[in-house]
């Protein structure tokens, strides 16, 4: 227990942890502030103003249409060709109607908690996962590269216990940060929705769905932290995790996409990691094979492939477990020099 508490203290004392936490909080606060300012509550007065603008636009359009017909008739009387400019029958068939001017178009943006908060959970998860990746990698990477790990092992010559305790400290910290900031994030958007947006139709089912999305976000954040920790420990340097992340990004998002396109692989994106990240947050992601259709021949429904969040769980779960097992196996066997 003392080792675990010490590792929590060590992690909290680290400058990178503190700086990254401040940046994370500032970044999230920036997003909240931006949306607080850009969202406007649709009061009856605002709706009436939008309706009035819409009516005025309709009237302007009507006047313009009438003027255009008059111009067209005059031109036709002068013997000029008018179809090209005014359309057949001087455009009489294109009379503007009121339903062409939806008052919604004149409404300011209003944050809709029910419809949009799910996307903001994904934004939050992405930001905290990045934080978790950097903190997880740096925590153990710096320990290896500065000799801190060796010092600690002289005190606690139980390699797996030491590494496991460090990992537990990282995951506990990430869980704490996610829960606290997640609660503040939810509260902030709930307040925005209350005072500058709408909370209409936010039923218990919506909260339940948000809770499950939050759990998926937490799982992803913990996986990011654990994988970064494991990679940095394998390479005994923070740069190892960062290098693998950049490499995987380049290979997966660019290399595989180009290769599968050139090779004509159907549903090539099923080999791309971001597909599974999207499916994880959206519950499912549909890949479309447009090459299965020849649209010249008429209407065609292209073939689709559904990637579910369960598929994502399998991919990310297996990946995380493999890297962690390799790390602990190496820790048990390697000479520490």
């Amino acid at each position: 227990m003392s080792l675990y508490v010490t590792e929590l203290r060590r992690l909290a004392k680290r400058r990178l942890t503190r700086v990254m936490l401040i940046l994370l909080v500032v970044g999230l606060a920036g997003i909240v502030t931006a949306f607080a300012f850009s969202s406007h509550k649709l009061s009856p007065a605002v709706i009436a103003q939008a309706q009035a603008e819409s009516d005025a636009n309709f009237r302007d359009a009507l006047r313009e249409w009438e003027r255009s017909i008059v111009e067209c008739d005059a031109a036709k009387a002068r013997g000029e060709q008018t179809d090209e400019r005014y359309g057949p029958n001087c455009g009489r068939d294109w009379k503007p109607t009121a339903d062409m001017f939806d008052p919604k178009w004149n409404l300011p943006y209003q944050f809709d908690f029910r419809a949009e908060f799910g996307d903001f959970i994904a934004v939050f998860a992405g930001a905290v996962a990045l934080f978790g990746f950097l903190v997880g990698a740096s925590f153990v990477g710096a320990e290896w590269s500065t000799g801190g790990m060796m010092n600690l092992l002289l005190w606690r010559p139980k390699r797996l216990t030491v590494l496991g305790t460090k990992l537990a400290a990282v995951l506990t910290t990430l869980t704490g940060v996610t829960v606290v900031l997640g609660a503040l994030w939810t509260l902030a958007f709930w307040l925005i929705a209350n005072f500058r947006g709408t909370t209409a139709k936010v039923t218990s089912g919506v909260w339940q769905s948000a809770g499950i999305s939050g759990l998926r976000a937490l799982a992803m954040i913990l996986a990011a932290g654990a994988v970064a920790f494991a990679l940095a420990s394998l390479g005994r340097h923070t740069a190892m995790a960062l290098g693998v992340a950049v490499g995987a990004g380049v290979v997966s998002e660019i290399g595989i996409r180009i290769a599968t396109t050139i090779a004509g692989v159907r549903f090539g994106d099923r080999w791309v990691l971001s597909t599974y990240a999207l499916a994880w947050f959206q519950k499912q992601w549909t890949l479309v094979d447009y090459r299965s259709c020849d649209f010249v021949q008429g209407q065609c429904t292209p073939k689709e492939m559904l990637v579910t969040w369960q598929d994502s769980a399998l991919v990310f779960g297996i990946g995380t477990v493999v890297v962690l097992v390799a790390t602990f196996w190496m820790m048990r066997r390697r000479d520490i020099t």
Binding site: S2, R10, K13, M150, L153, R156, P157, K158, T337
Partner: protein, 336 residues
């Protein structure tokens, strides 16, 4: 006396597809008695640090037996780790933590009372700089911090690898006094260092390692005596008699080296016989001084690492046991 540290036949082999096999430790033996300050010496690359790392569980041995405080290690290392303080190689600490934070975190990990942190900071002279980041420390200050971290547990066995590295002359003297005080308080100290003058001054016994094997061991005086070669310096009342004296001693079977104002004799068991032999021929000595050897010259001789003009000795070129005076670069190096 009971042994605090025992190593028998320790082996560690590194295998590389490209560079072949290298025996870093080739059946190394070592024994340290309780309450000693024990010097652990060897040329660069001889296996000192590998021995210490293996002993402390950082490297897995390929063979041999090790015991600390009567417990077989590495198996019992978790049980005895609380009684062993160690620094291995250069001091390494997280640069952005202060000395106090560094020690406090170690104390926390090892269930050591927090009050001990200030005690060891005082002991190594870092009390007033304890709040500063380690990255602002000089090498000597880092070395003091390393010693403080090793002392934090108030261990029964203290293992220090190059503790005087980077210390100023005052610091070296303080370190020497500290080692002696610790030994007097009952702590056993194993000291690895290349400052052989210091080792000679503060150590009770030494073990010398070369190419992964023990080449000498025992009390310092004994090791020096074994390699003194009975050297004696002789001066006469009349310098012009030196030639006659040299001839006389030569005939008596003594190895003589002539110098302008004195003679150097080797292989003399009893210097008094020289005095008597010369006096019988009316040659009177004004100085008859046994030439004492120091640990440095003994070390260079045993390990065959004395510099040779015009030659550039490589790190693996040192003596292997059974081959005194011969370099054995290919025996223990890569490709062997």
């Amino acid at each position: 006396m009971s042994a605090v540290l025992e190593i028998e036949g320790l082996r560690k082999t590194y295998k590389s597809r490209r560079r072949g096999v290298r025996n870093a430790l080739d059946g190394f033996d070592m024994r340290v008695e309780a309450g000693q300050v024990h010097g652990f010496l060897g040329p660069n690359g001889s296996g000192k640090t590998t021995t210490l790392r293996t002993l402390l569980g950082l490297i897995q041995p390929d063979g041999g037996r090790m015991a600390i405080l009567g417990h077989e290690v590495p198996g019992a290392l978790p049980a005895v780790a609380g009684q062993v303080g160690a620094i291995v190689e250069s001091p390494q600490f997280f640069p952005h933590f202060s000395a106090r934070d560094t020690l406090s975190l170690l104390a926390g990990a090892g269930d050591v009372p927090a009050v001990r942190v200030d005690e060891v900071l005082e002991l190594v002279g870092l009390r007033d700089r304890a709040g500063e980041r380690v990255k602002t420390y000089s090498l000597g200050m880092k070395q003091r911090l390393a010693v403080a971290s090793a002392l934090l547990k108030n261990p029964k066995l203290l293992i220090l690898d190059e503790p005087a590295n980077g210390l100023d002359p005052g610091g070296i003297r303080e370190m020497r006094t500290l080692m002696r005080n610790l030994a007097e308080s009952g702590m056993t100290v194993v000291l690895s260092s290349h400052i052989l003058g210091e080792i000679q001054l503060i150590c009770d016994e030494v073990t010398i390692i070369s190419l992964g094997r023990r080449v000498a061991a025992g009390p310092v005086e004994q090791v020096l005596a074994q390699h003194s070669h009975g050297g004696v310096r002789v001066r006469l009342d009349a310098a012009e008699d030196l030639a006659a004296a040299a001839e006389l001693l030569d005939r008596a079977g003594v190895a003589v080296t002539r110098h302008p104002d004195h003679l150097m004799l080797a292989g003399v068991d009893k210097p008094a016989t020289v005095s008597r032999l010369l006096a019988e021929q009316h040659l009177y000595v004004s100085e008859l001084a046994p030439v004492s050897v120091d640990l440095e010259s003994v070390f260079l001789e045993i390990t065959a690492t004395a510099p040779v003009p015009g030659q550039h000795r490589q790190v693996d070129q040192s003596a292997k046991i059974g081959e005194p005076g011969h370099t054995a670069g290919t025996t223990g190096g890569w490709g062997a």
